[in-house]
Amino acid sequence: MNFLPYLVSAWLFLIGLYGVVTSRNLVHLCICVGVIQSSSYVLLLAIGYRIGCPAPIFIDIKPGTPAVDPVVQALILTDIVVEVTVMALLLALAVQIHKRNGTLDPNLLHAMKG
C-alpha cells in the first residue's frame, strides 16, 4: 500500500500522455498536459510525507518536533504556479490557432508538413 502514491503518479503521467496523443481538440489537449503535471505533484507529495507526522506549521506544535518535509511542499507550490501559467499560455495559443484556422482539431491542422 505504501507504493500506491508512486503508482498513481506513474499512472497520471501515462494517462495524460495518452490523452495528449489521442486528443481531437486542442483545449482538451492542454488540459491533458495539466494531468501530466499533476503526476509530479503526487510524486513529490509522497516523497515529502512522513507517516504520523504533522504539517510543518509550528504554531500548535512545539518547534523542533518532527514534521513532514517542507522543502518538497515548497517545490510543489512552485510547480503549481508553473502549471497555471503554462496552461494560460497554451490556452491562449489554442484560441489563436482556432481564430486563424477555424478548427481546434489537430487532425485537421496540416500547415507544418514535411
Binding site: 505504501n2 503508482l7 509522497a46 516523497i47 512522513r50 513532514v68 517542507p70 522543502v71 503554462v86 487532425n107
Partner: protein, 250 residues
C-alpha cells in the same frame, strides 16, 4: 500517421515507459518513510533562526527565495505573453471600457446574484489580504492570497457591473501594480546586497515569533508577491475576457 498507427506506436512506447516507471519506482523508499534529511534540518531551524512558524513559507521566501523569484517571473512573463497573444490587433491596450460597458444590451443579472456577488466582494478582499499578510504564520501566503484577491473583480463582473470593475481596477493600474509587485522582489533582494549581505539575505530584524512583522524580509516579499499575483491573474483573465465583453456590446 493515421490515428490507428499513432495509437499503436504510443501504446508500445507507453509500455516501455511504464517499465521505466516500474523498475525505477520499485526501488524507492516506501511513501511515508523517505528520509528527508534536508527537510528535517529546515524544520529544526525555522523558528529559532528565522522566527517563522510556517516552514513552507520559510523555504519559499527565505531559504530557497531565489527559486520563488524565478517563479514570480515565470508568472509575470506568462502574463505578458498571454496579453500579447490575445490582444493582437493594432490598437493599443485600451483601458476605457466604461462608456461601452454601461449600455450593454444584455439582460442584467437578477438582483439576487447581484446582491450576493457585491456582498461577497469585501469578504473576498478581506480574506485575500488576511492570507497575504499571514503568510509566515499560517498556511497561505502571497500567492494564495493574490489569487483570492484576483477573484474579487470577477465577482464584480458576475454582478454585471463591468464598468465598475474598470473603475475599481483600471487596467493600466493593474498592469502597473503587477510590474511593481514583480520588481519589489528584486528590489528587496538588491537592498539586502546593498546593506552588505548577499542577494536576498534576510537582514531585517526578525521580530516576535507569531507576530505579523516576524520573519524579517519575508512579510515584505509576501506583500510584493501578493500584489504581483493578483494583478497578473486579473490581467490574464481579462485578456481572455475582453472580446467576450465586446460581443455582448454588439
Amino acid at each position: 500517421m493515421t490515428r490507428a498507427a499513432r495509437k499503436i506506436l504510443f501504446l508500445i512506447s507507453a509500455l516501455l515507459l511504464a517499465c521505466v516507471f516500474w523498475l525505477g519506482y520499485s526501488q524507492m523508499q516506501p511513501a511515508g518513510f523517505v528520509s528527508g534529511e534536508y527537510g528535517d534540518r529546515v524544520n529544526q531551524l525555522v523558528v529559532p533562526q528565522r522566527h517563522i512558524t510556517d516552514a513552507v513559507t520559510a523555504v519559499n521566501f527565505d531559504i530557497r527565495g531565489f527559486d520563488t523569484l524565478g517563479e514570480e517571473f515565470i508568472l509575470f512573463t506568462s502574463v505578458m505573453g498571454v496579453v500579447l497573444l490575445m490582444r493582437w490587433r493594432k490598437e493599443p491596450l485600451r483601458g476605457d471600457h466604461e462608456d461601452k460597458a454601461e449600455d450593454r444590451r444584455v439582460p442584467p443579472p437578477s438582483d439576487a446574484v447581484r446582491v450576493t456577488s457585491v456582498l461577497l466582494v469585501p469578504a473576498t478582499v478581506l480574506f485575500g489580504v488576511y492570507m497575504v499578510t499571514h503568510g509566515q504564520l499560517t498556511p497561505g501566503g502571497g500567492f494564495q492570497g493574490g489569487v483570492i484577491l484576483a477573484t474579487a473583480p470577477l465577482l464584480l463582473y458576475l454582478a454585471g457591473t463591468f464598468g465598475q470593475f474598470h473603475q475599481v481596477a483600471p487596467l493600466r493600474m493593474v498592469a502597473f501594480a503587477e510590474a511593481v509587485g514583480a520588481a519589489t522582489y528584486i528590489f528587496i533582494g538588491g537592498a539586502c546586497l546593498a546593506l552588505g549581505g548577499t542577494f536576498l539575505q534576510n537582514l531585517l530584524p526578525l521580530g516576535q515569533v507569531g507576530s505579523l512583522t516576524s520573519g524579517g524580509i519575508v512579510p515584505l516579499i509576501d506583500l510584493g508577491v501578493g500584489l504581483e499575483v493578483s494583478g497578473g491573474i486579473v490581467l490574464a483573465l481579462l485578456a481572455f475576457l475582453e472580446e467576450l465583453v465586446e460581443e455582448k456590446e454588439e
